[in-house]
Symmetry: C2
């Protein structure tokens, strides 16, 4: 990927020139990983990539991070600091050239570091680096899409094996732990979230996994994802526990949500606006009389972050382009009763939406 | 804990008055959890607690977070926004009173949100909320220390069971997965890190866990921690795999690091400076001729965050007070050969250091 990283840095610089951003400061996290391949965690020890619109990058980092940075093969001047000296002098030297102009700062950088930078460069005008980075990151390369498909395949495998197991009598949290075990066993590095919303808990869109014991007749929202080689999976499917009395409205709602999901996929094309995709899903649900129960946006971009640009929501006129990757996840939530959500990751292609989650949308019956 | 949270808010406000901070903006994360008990994750959806120096708090949050916030019992005005409307109007209304004065911002808040706040309140002067929060958070209450001891007890149990298992022939990553399984089984919510540094990998202080296969005669750095009811554990112990040829210098280095650990514990007392504790550990290692191989600070505060104030490092004159909790983790790293680190969490008490990690410091021999 080294030449891919070099290309990304050149593209970022060309975008910076176009938009009049003189330099960017990027912290450990998804933007640093995207531009350099370096995996580092944001912490109290200051660590920054400085990318000027023209010229060579530089890195400010704690001594013990030096090897990891050099392993990436990045062509950058490295300014390091140690616990013994502290970061102050090194930071001052690092930022010396950034005294003015429009400077982009990583959206997810901790505010404490931005305040330090603002003190050291009081004449600079600060803006969000996402202005530059979202242009690049929202359009996935084929290499990135391949990794996202591998992440999604692990989720498919996990779902298939999970639903062979017994659900009745287990706590939601036990099912979540089993999802984690399967994701890791099949090669993901980390589970990022594991929502198990059984029965009435399914009606809370951001419920995680509780001590509730699963009963026959429960419908269950299973929404989980994790990281594979730096890229995220995210899929939601519905299961129903057999031998109980399922809510009589369940099948109708499931069918409507599934139609809404299909309508959103059908609205995906190069040149369509994000809000058009949202509207397509929302119309199906509203026409069926459940509009008040679809309480969130239709989707979010995904890649190195679980949530990133583009956001598939009302009012977002951003236009879809080839290679954009985002969730399509309409839902209907009937308080106190149940919820239904069906979620795929769509890639915007020349001929429309490519769905990378291969698990069928139909209800899976479990024991 | 509701009355404990009310007290914390009152203490924060009194500290703000004393230091001339007119209000603070706190994002989802450890400061929000400390002040209110609310558990929320930082995401692209703006979520802020506004705490004025005098008067009632207010919350800006996405609609679906409202219930979780109300469950905390917090006495605050709530301004909510939905995916349909977006956050702009709500954020403007929320910040209306913050147009000037010195405003504290959560150190870990994403910079994108700070830039938004700075645009909406251009006359305010921004400072780090840690100036207020570290005063409070670094002194743990007995209720907090109880949770930290429970977290530590789970780490002790995990170490005891782990070291009954076979190490030879396993990958470091398999041992890390087993640590995770045991931490979760014994009641932690999440593993935060699991370092398994075998043989020469132990000489890299921030090595995590690789595909290296563990051999007889390896010494192994095991440094792991996770979260229990919102509080962190963090402990490092050494194991040696039997039936191989251990590096002849190992036992001497282990003994010196252990003495350095003891010297740091002995330096802990109310009124001592953080740098004094660091110096005590460093002196033992330097006097033995290994000073160049102890490349990091002696420790870090711990509580809701794995790393927080106070930092036990050279040059930090901050003074220890009753209830402060921090790691003592001297180490010696011989490149290409092995490393030794022994880490406890110390609580500063009236009569000195209380070590909450009960696993012995001696080498544990494993198969």
């Amino acid at each position: 990927m080294q030449s891919e990283h070099r290309n990304r840095i050149l593209k970022a610089q060309s975008e910076m020139q176009r938009r009049g951003v003189s330099r960017m400061f990027i912290g450990p996290g998804s933007n640093l990983f995207y531009l350099t391949g370096i995996r580092a965690m944001m912490s109290e020890r200051i660590y920054l990539l400085q990318l000027p619109a023209i010229g060579k990058a530089s890195l400010l980092l704690p001594t013990f991070e030096r090897l990891g940075a050099e392993d990436s093969g990045i062509d950058a001047e490295i300014i390091e600091w140690s616990d013994a000296t502290g970061p102050d002098a090194a930071t001052k030297a690092f930022i010396a050239d950034a005294s003015s102009g429009t400077v982009g700062v990583d959206d997810q950088l901790w505010s404490a570091f931005l305040l330090d930078l603002q003190t050291l460069a009081p004449k600079a005008s600060w803006t969000k680096a996402s202005m530059i980075m979202q242009e690049l990151r929202s359009r996935k390369s084929e290499a990135e899409i391949k990794l996202m498909k591998e992440a999604a395949a692990i989720a498919d495998k996990t779902f298939a094996e999970l639903t062979q197991q017994k659900f009745t009598g287990k706590k939601e949290s036990q099912i979540a732990a089993e999802i984690q075990r399967l994701l890791l066993m099949h090669g993901q590095e980390q589970m990022q979230f594991g929502i198990v919303g059984s029965g009435p808990n399914g009606a809370k869109p951001h419920h995680e996994a509780s001590d509730r014991v699963i009963q026959p007749g429960d419908s269950i929202v299973l929404d989980f994802g994790g990281t594979y080689k730096g890229y995220q999976s995210d899929m939601t499917r519905m299961v129903v526990v057999k031998d109980g009395s399922l809510d009589p409205e369940y099948e109708r709602v499931h069918d409507i949500v599934n139609q809404a999901n299909a309508a959103a996929h059908a609205a995906v094309k190069i040149g369509a606006a994000c809000e058009d995709v949202d509207r397509a899903a929302r119309k199906v649900i509203s026409d069926a009389g459940y509009g008040d129960y679809f309480t969130h946006r239709t989707g979010h971009g995904i890649g190195i972050d679980v949530h990133e640009h583009p956001y598939i929501r009302q009012g977002n006129r951003e236009v879809l382009d080839e290679g954009m990757a985002f969730s399509i996840e309409p839902g209907v939530y009937l308080p106190g009763r149940f919820g239904v959500r069906i979620e795929d990751i769509a890639i915007c292609r020349e001929n429309g939406s490519e769905n990378i989650n291969l698990t069928p949308h139909s209800v899976t019956i479990v024991q």
